[in-house]
């Protein structure tokens, strides 16, 4: 039986704003399947976003949804989560939103290890504003603000998240869909700050200016370039050049922020242990 997406999509809000060939729709459906699998009631989940193409996703989903300012989804989400630690809070962001304008919030949310699932849709470009280079645009690629080829070095989003203290870090692609479903489920099941980078394609403002003849070519690039982390780790560096690992890249046990904070609140209720 085919999956009933309509149960989660807000009536009358489609079609979406994304261009033909954009892979965000693939992620959108994967996210709905994951949440359905986890049986999270609609009233108990909030999806928060910033600005950009990725940030329009919450508007289509029938949850508590919040479309905020550029780069700031995480601190808004942190406020929601601290006020209601019993509820599920997710953030969906783009490469520019999460790691350029929102970079400070990104690393501090990771450090805090607050129980928020962060999905970063990395399409290597500022799509909504028409194709300016982002912190993940590959070196040499053409962008409207790098017309002679990008010279601006990159962030590796999973490395950034791990280095900043996130307790679960993964990477999937819009091509490897069954694996993506599982990754979203695992990211959401993780207690703590989880970061899932999802490799996406923007044929309109990135692909067609960078020798991808069609949107399909960008999906095939994902197919050819992604390697499961288990295989990636076994290969010598010369064999992994130009490839990127996918799957659960890193996880650790670490105290979750709300539990620690409200643990302190509980301690304070006991008069002898609490501070005046």
């Amino acid at each position: 039986m085919s999956f009933n997406y309509d149960q989660y999509i807000r009536g009358g809000k489609l079609p979406h704003i994304w261009c033909p060939g954009c892979t965000y729709g693939i992620v959108f459906k994967s996210l709905l399947r994951a949440v359905d699998f986890l049986k999270i009631p609609k009233d108990d989940i909030a999806l928060v976003s910033g600005i950009g193409c990725a940030s329009r996703l919450p508007g289509y989903i029938d949850w508590n949804t919040l479309h905020t300012t550029h780069g700031r989804a995480l601190p808004f989400a942190t406020g929601l989560k601290m006020a209601r630690p019993d509820k599920k809070v997710m953030v969906v962001s783009g490469d520019g939103d999460a790691t350029a304008i929102g970079g400070n919030h990104f690393i501090h949310a990771c450090r805090r290890n607050i129980d928020i699932t962060v999905i970063v849709l990395n399409n290597f470009i500022y799509g909504m504003t028409g194709g300016q280079h982002s912190p993940t645009t590959p070196i040499g690629h053409i962008a409207t603000t790098m017309p002679y080829g990008n010279v601006d070095p990159n962030f590796n989003i999973p490395d950034l998240a791990k280095g900043a203290g996130a307790s679960w870090v993964g990477r999937g692609t819009a091509y490897h869909v069954p694996a993506l479903d599982k990754l979203i489920i695992e990211a959401m099941q993780h207690k703590g700050l989880s970061v899932l980078e999802i490799i996406n394609a923007c044929p309109t403002t990135h692909g067609r200016r960078n020798k991808f003849k069609s949107a399909t070519d960008q999906l095939l690039w994902m197919k050819d370039t992604a390697l499961p982390i288990t295989a990636f780790d076994k290969l010598p560096p010369e064999k992994t050049a130009g490839k990127f690992p996918t799957g659960v890249l890193y996880k650790k046990e670490a105290p979750e922020y709300c539990e620690t904070y409200y643990g302190m609140v509980e301690r304070l209720k006991k008069p002898k242990e609490g501070r005046a």
Binding site: T65, T68, T69, G79, L80
Partner: protein, 376 residues
Amino acid sequence: MGQIKLLQGNEACAEGALYAGCTFFGGYPITPSTEVAEFMARRLPQIGGAFLQMEDEIAAMASVIGGSLAGCKALTATSGPGFSLKQENMGFAMLTEIPCVIVNVMRGGPSTGVPTGPGQSDIMQCKWGTHGDHPVICLTPGYVQEIFSETVRAFNLAEKYRTPVIVAFDEIIGHMREKIEIPDKGVIEIVDRKRPTCSPADYMPFDESKGDVPPVADFFSGYRQHITGLNHASDGFPVNASPRIHTDELRLMRKVESNKKDIIRYEEYLLEDAEVAVFAYGVSGRSGKNAVEQARAAGIKAGLFRPLTIWPFPEEQVAALASRVRAIVVPELSLGQIILEVERCAKGKCKVDGIYRVDGDPITPTQILDKIKEVK
């Protein structure tokens, strides 16, 4: 009989917030407002509330909006550069009509300016700081007791009109210690935001048919909704080009404009027969009161108009004042900001003369008295 305490203005502000039912604080350390955060850091965990010291001022403002959307009364406090940084998200809260309170303990500027000295040069920024047209409520207490009561009122107004409210006072009264009385619970009325009673399926977060202040639902309360900083329709979803944008912006402005009687509060002191009026708020209002008393002792009919609500501006009151005095003296710790509003409302009916000072010291009563003598 409430509690009598000796408190700093910043501490009284935090006490006021707690009295009003604040259970969420998001902040960032900055002089001269830090004591508000420090007080909340001690007290909120004791009552099960949420205290967050965020990574920056922008995040602090964002967290407060998130906390409010989840149903908490939420506060942030800042100064100078921090107030500048908060502006974008304050605009978000204004457009999305999310109640919250922003305290600005004013210092000198621009830039880092004089972090440890008083200022009143953010007063236009309080009104115009974020981009776009928007309603603004800004309160300007002048005494530690007033910081307490006006902070309570700020929460009440935020809840009642579903909008951010700014409390702006200066470094001197922020750090000054005075005796205050914290009334018993119930003495000051506490207002809670109007929440929806309709079925969730019928709920629209910006339904103008429910009045200028539509009910606001908490996240996770069963009323699933979409909140966006884009201009939006009644149901909360973006609209791009529509008469709706214009009419909704007008409704936002109307929330404040048509309720000025409720929002505007001020003190009139010895104004009945006054020939010279001093218009001053905050620490300058205190100097103004002393100057007026000295002028009276010298036989000059002087009086004080001290606004506790600076935005919306007490236009009618200042216009009426201008028509019955010879001159209005406006002392302010800026190079002439609020005097522009006084002049606008006076419409040339009386002389308006300013006293400006931005060197980190307050305007003295003597300075004001000299000006009163000059213009009388």
